[in-house]
Assembly symmetry: C2
Homo-oligomer: 321 residues x 2
């Protein structure tokens, strides 16, 4: 399979399409962090993006890629995460309905988030089969267009705009890093950055407790994500048929990190950089912390994927005092 | 008493002096916050400043105002807060010693912070008398120059640079707000903003549990801060002989806020803006939350004073789940 159809041109189109709606997020640096990790790190702060995560870029590009006729029937997805809120907001911005299928077990704050952005929530049993069946019913009833959270070229192109912006600001990066779950952010990042700067090294971080992408690269076959266990709850899904080939082709390496490493990197970034990031966003920084690969002295760009976290339940709240 | 000696020109001098060392911090906005408070709010993010607080501006201006002979003998203060770290870092940047007197009861993380910036810590009994006596001993021994945390014109001029930068970015503010403790930030903010934009209204926020500045304005006499009780631990001190007259002359009003209001505003800013701020920094936002004064529809600048907070002990950790 080739990924020729997903080119830098598609990402540039996405950038023009979402420009009015998405934030151009800032790039932050932190000298004390650089000292600790021994490299020069540039953080692209998607925690400051609309709905608090990069997911808005892809959802927005997908929604505004539709024809007026398609759009009028709305968009649909099953998700209980950031993609659900992102799709609801993008649809509201276009003035069309968003149908979100969520498991009945989803936290009420997640449902409230989608409702707050004007989405219509349909609850179902908390199994993948029930989610897919319920989504199919919704689509049959409404004619809405399904927007998959990551296995969708419009979504991937949208996610790639973050790396493009980062390279516009810091053109001479040696390495660019992103976390990997379903691979939407990672594949968009890989396409954008290797097209703009062919010498760049694309490296992903993944939790040890959800290392299906690591195993997929190692075996050459998409490995399912079976009972993943990690605090990085944005990275539980397995790769998709579109994201996997892009990652195989353009990502140098996926590095797994421990839960302790994720929490340590996350807390350091909160304490020193004074920004709120979610555990998934700390995963690439944890790669630097744990030092499994030597990136000393390099200029490293990291996509900080999001900042949606339950402030009443932080990982260090159960620390010994 | 006149405050003519402390003019905008002094603040511009301070800005030139600290330019190489201090961050020009970003100004952030948040549309969901604007909706909640019914105004257009521009946050000057001093939580991103060196040492995580505006205090670095004043300390840096004071340290770099000294002659080489004065500077060589070092600087000294008694403080267990952000000013101690700010002075230590500014002194290190100039390559001179910083002598910090701290009560023996100060948290070890505060001592470690000062030591980390190369300061020399002298512990004493936790009383004001002991702190002053110990400081006097240190000065007698070293010849260091005392830099008061707020009752010092060089410090006030430095703090005023934050408001100056904010007005450079958003020139048409109707209102500018800052928290008030000893009044260094507030008086610097008031001088800069009323000089640049005479029509601007300067409004301060103060915790109900530490309302000595409010009472000082009401009575026309500096009221001591007796057993203050508030989560906003940067605002416990009373006004000084230099800050009080400036505040009387240029501040429209001091508005007191409840502890619940401070925590609510702080949590909202963490959740929606994805930035870490300390309770003291949330005090002006709490004024908007509580609505004691009507600022509907106005353009409001707020100095977010700092982001140094113990992540293991957040005010909502004891909330019901």
């Amino acid at each position: 399979m080739t990924t020729m159809s997903l080119s830098l041109e598609r990402i540039k189109e996405a950038a023009r399409r979402i420009e009015l709606y998405a934030h151009r997020t800032p790039v932050l640096t932190c000298s004390s962090l650089d000292k600790v990790v021994g490299a020069q790190v540039f953080f692209k702060c998607e925690n400051f993006q609309k709905v608090g995560a990069f997911k808005f870029r892809g959802a927005c590009n997908a929604v505004f890629s539709l024809s007026d006729q398609e759009a009028a029937k709305g968009v649909a997805t099953h998700s209980s995460g950031n993609h659900a809120q992102a799709l609801a907001l993008a649809a509201r911005m276009r003035g069309v309905p968003a149908y979100i299928v969520m498991p009945s077990t989803a936290p009420s704050v997640k449902k409230a988030g989608v409702l707050g952005y004007g989405g219509e929530v349909t609850l179902c049993e908390p199994t993948l089969a029930a989610r897919e069946a319920t989504l199919a019913e919704v689509v049959a009833r409404t004619g809405a267009t399904v927007v998959h959270p990551y296995n969708d070229e419009r979504v991937i192109a949208g996610q790639g705009t973050a790396a493009m912006e980062l390279l516009e600001e810091v053109p001479d990066l040696d390495v660019i890093m992103a976390p990997v779950g379903g691979g939407g952010l990672l594949s968009g990042t890989a396409i954008a950055s290797t097209a703009i700067r062919p010498r760049i090294r694309v490296i992903a971080g993944e939790p040890e407790g959800a290392d299906d992408a690591y195993r997929s690269l190692a075996t050459g076959i998409i490995q399912p994500s079976l009972s993943p266990k990690t605090i990085a709850d944005g990275l539980l899904t397995s790769l998709g048929s579109i994201t996997f080939p892009i990652i195989r082709e353009r990502v140098e390496r996926i590095v797994t990190v421990s839960e302790a490493g994720i929490v340590e990197a996350m807390r350091f970034i909160w304490e020193r950089m004074k920004i709120v990031i979610e555990p998934s966003a700390a995963v690439p920084a944890a790669v630097l912390w744990e030092g499994k690969i030597d990136l000393t002295g390099l200029k490293i760009g990291i996509i900080l994927s999001g900042g949606n976290v339950d402030l009443g339940n932080l990982p260090w709240m159960n620390d010994k005092p």
